[in-house]
Amino acid sequence: MPRAHGSKLINRHLKKEPSDLKEIPTIEISTNLSEDVLNIANGVFSPLKGFLCYNDLDNVVKEKRLESDTPWTIPILLDFDNNDVKEGDTVLLVNKENGVRALLDVEDIYTYAKKTLSQEIYRTQDKEHPGVTNVNNMKQNFIGGKISLIDSKEREFDDYNLSPRETRFLFKEKGWKEIVAFQTRNPPHIGHEYVQKTALTFVDGIFINPIIGKKKAGDFRDDVILSSYRTLMKYYYLKERAVMSILRTSMKYAGPREAIHHAIMRKNFGCTHFIVGRDHAGVGNYYGPYDAHDIFSEFPDLGIIPIFFRSFSRCTKCGSVVNDKICPHDPKYHINFSGKKIREILRNGEVPSEDMMRKEVAETILKFDKPFVE
């Protein structure tokens, strides 16, 4: 099992609630930021102990690395507009929805050019890009500093919310040494299953890790994604070889940079391999289809092995699922796994063909009155 990123798995949970909380100034943070706080505290973002200070941010933007030279590609930032806070203060971060309360030691207060941030992280300043919109909506100032989590409340799906310490413990108990991680935001179709099982063939176990959180209208609901995977695993996976746990974080749509970030998080969960598909974490036409593959060559010291899949489809000549390395037949024999098409069929209350989706998975989805976010 790999070491955590940066060598040490971070744990920023306070063992005891401080007694003088009422005297500490409070900053209310968004639900998205509170997820970042939890991911820092639980070690998902190891080696980060808090929100980025200027030097780390500048290095991440320009070099795709922290100041310590550790690979890091996505800025984890706390923006704020409270002018009363000063460097050296301790503030209480609060989010009511998640019940998150955490202390923040204010080490650095700074500004950073948003245009540079957008251009370097998202490779564009186009306001249509959701990441650029998020950057533009940020407040002008950023605070960097270490956090210490006081508490958070229990939430839906917490049974499936394993921390990196827990997954590492689980993998050891199962005797797995090589573990491949699969990230998803959708219920599984046959193509996903093919990719997962192809990778699983060469390692000890698979860690299916759906991203749970804010979604847009038309996306599958979180409970639908979890239920459909439970069904797939029940009927089509060896229970000794597959586990699933959720990851609460927002998608940034930063394409190649985000692929590295996704791999780092899975390394922290204890995985040795990470599946990267076509246009991983992409949106629109902002990135080339394999930019998220190419970027890995910049990180010989990443500490997790990417497994690249270029494309996969069902070949009517081969009579099986194939990828571009193994099938000699003309593309006219290839049927692509279209998520859009599968959604349309399910939306009409119909079961897609078994060439596209397992019947049991489709039936699980159709048991929900409203499987899609409205």
């Binding site: 060598s7 040490k8 700074y110 689980l170």
Partner: protein
């Protein structure tokens, strides 16, 4: 309030000229744009395998049992 800070610092390392010449030939036509970028890449690759390992904090006996119960409930442990 900090608005601008120093640019990243680099340092100079000496390597034999003949080796430098071989490396320059080797990186011709590759994605490496300079001798420095290639040497940095190789050193990062080497150093990543020899960094000190720090022991992660283990669960207490009590917490370990709680985690095991949780994992059994999910069907992940027998």
């Amino acid at each position: 309030m900090v608005e601008e800070k120093d640019e990243k610092k680099y340092t100079t390392i000496s390597i034999p000229s003949q080796l430098a010449g071989k490396i320059k030939k080797r990186i011709e036509g590759t994605g490496f744009h300079s001798l420095s970028s290639y040497v940095t890449y190789v050193l990062r690759e080497v150093i990543s395998g020899v960094e000190d390992e720090e022991e992660d904090e283990a669960f207490s006996k009590e917490d370990e049992e709680k985690v095991k119960d949780r994992l059994r409930a999910l069907g992940y442990l027998d």
